[in-house]
């Protein structure tokens, strides 16, 4: 623009503001229509910027772990004590689980039950988060190449974190349970009452569509219902934290504000809407982060 004269340039600048405001407003209205092109552009950009995010995140992660290591020095004794106790408790549970597993298998054989097995897990690291005042989603560093598909469930360390909404070649977006647009069919573990867990931008999503005379109590555990064909049934979601009139809120099990890794559950459900004959056989496990068993962290 250097060839333009000063007054000309000022005029262009003056015109630019209202023009760009109109374009912005137009884009917002267009966005209401969920245009595929916008989503394509977004996944493309995410793919392109994924290496940049990882490069920036590296020193930050190092700093964070340094802080944590420093803090750990002061708590190492208590932590050790706690872990010993937890270990003893978990060993007991392991025994119980093994016994139940055997029993389960026997019962299944008797019933000729074919389980809808989980095909595998894909572990991804969180490389970006929305961080804004009204969005709750994260970007993870696995995508189509690792076998991630749209609609798959994403687990945090303790429970369901959200659902995959956008998949690029090497980065995908996970919509967290707390996001405004998140709706997950759930069931109360004890009473088997069905409901929908709806995010509303607070840390504790709400339970919608509970039966009128529901026996829900604070502390009740909530798991995925498996209806709607998105999530496998029985994944831990959270526990009821408050009941205020008709407003039932759930504290998610997963620590959503501090997610570092998520596991994408490959349940093969995206195929379940198709007739039986069209369902492809489970793919042989690909190289990379896909593992047959739940893993803590499959990264090298």
């Amino acid at each position: 623009m250097s060839h333009l004269s000063m007054p000309m340039r000022a005029a262009v600048q003056r015109l630019a503001l209202p023009l760009l405001v109109i374009v912005s407003a137009g884009l917002i209205v267009l966005g209401k229509a969920d245009i595929l092109l916008i989503e394509r552009a977004r996944t493309g950009l995410n793919d392109a910027l994924a290496p940049v995010f990882e490069a920036i995140a590296q020193p930050l992660n190092a700093a964070a772990s340094a802080v944590r290591r420093f803090q750990d020095h002061f708590t190492v004794y208590d932590e050790n004590q706690r872990l010993r106790e937890e270990n003893a408790r978990l060993l007991q549970w392991q025994g119980v689980a093994q016994r139940l597993e055997t029993e389960n298998q026997e019962l299944r054989q008797m019933l000729h039950f074919t389980p809808q097995g989980v095909r595998g897990y894909i572990t991804g690291r969180v490389i970006a988060n929305s961080g804004g005042a009204f969005l709750r989603n994260v970007l993870i560093d696995v995508g189509e190449r690792q076998g991630v598909e749209r609609g798959q469930a994403a687990l945090g360390a303790e429970g369901v974190a959200g659902r995959v909404t956008e998949v690029g070649a090497r980065a995908s977006r996970v919509l967290l349970l707390t996001d405004l647009n998140s709706r997950v069919p759930v069931v109360l573990e004890d009473t088997r009452e069905r409901a929908v867990l709806a995010g509303d931008n607070t840390n504790r999503p709400r339970l919608l569509y509970l039966p009128e005379k529901s026996a829900v109590r604070v502390g009740d555990h909530v798991v995925t219902a498996g209806s709607g064909g998105i999530f496998p049934p029985g994944l831990p979601v959270g526990s009821v934290s408050s009941i205020d009139g008709g407003m039932v809120r759930v504290e998610p099990d997963a620590e959503l504000s501090r997610l570092e890794y998520v596991r994408i559950v490959d349940f093969g459900l995206s195929a379940s809407v198709l007739p039986q004959s069209v369902i492809p056989a489970p793919k042989p496990s690909r190289a990379g982060r896909r593992t047959a068993e739940p893993d803590i962290d499959a990264r090298p």
Binding site: L17, K32, F53, Q71, N129
Partner: protein
């Protein structure tokens, strides 16, 4: 001849500094800080860069750059496209209109100016997003982000002033 070309290139890079630092602020705002005490909400770094450059070097940060920064932010956070552009352009216009009251003043005055701009931008953002989704959003998250943004401003401002002094003196 070569030297002249080289100087021109350096000049170009220097001129792009405001836009580049703004883009960097956008990227930083989506990098997850895995710090123990950090919550889901991060400060609006892009707003800080735009406030700073619009105040001190509006000639080097055209509206188109502000618009692009907003688009980038919306793309990266999967926000409704255009919301951040609109909010940042509004902030930019607000700063320009109050520029003579803020220029060459003590830092406290500049900081209070930033507080006002942040609050106004957050209010606009809340209104636009609420309208977009058709529900009244919880105000607390927006308030919290405002507080966080205003509290972090001095640090970012210090860094941007350093960039301005070291790189932009000759432009």
């Amino acid at each position: 001849m070569k030297l002249v070309l080289f100087q021109r290139d350096v000049g170009l890079i220097n001129r792009l500094m405001p836009a580049l630092t703004t883009a960097l602020c956008v990227i930083v705002s989506v990098i997850p800080a895995h710090l123990p005490a950090f919550t889901a909400v991060t400060p609006a770094f892009a707003l800080m860069a735009i406030y700073h450059w619009t105040l001190y070097r509006p000639d080097l940060l055209p509206f188109v750059a502000v618009f692009a920064a907003g688009l980038l932010l919306d793309m990266l956070t999967a926000a409704p496209l255009g919301v951040s552009s609109l909010v940042l352009l509004f902030a930019c216009a607000l700063v320009l209109s109050q520029r003579e009251h803020l220029l060459m003043r003590r830092f406290t005055v500049v900081w209070i100016g930033f507080l006002v701009v942040t609050a106004a931008s957050a209010a606009l953002q809340w209104a636009v997003v609420s309208l977009f989704y058709g529900i009244l959003l919880d105000v607390r998250a927006f308030l919290f982000q405002c507080v966080l943004t205003v509290a972090t401003y001095p640090v970012v401002s210090y860094l941007l002033v350093r960039v301005q002094r070291n790189v932009l003196m000759r432009v």
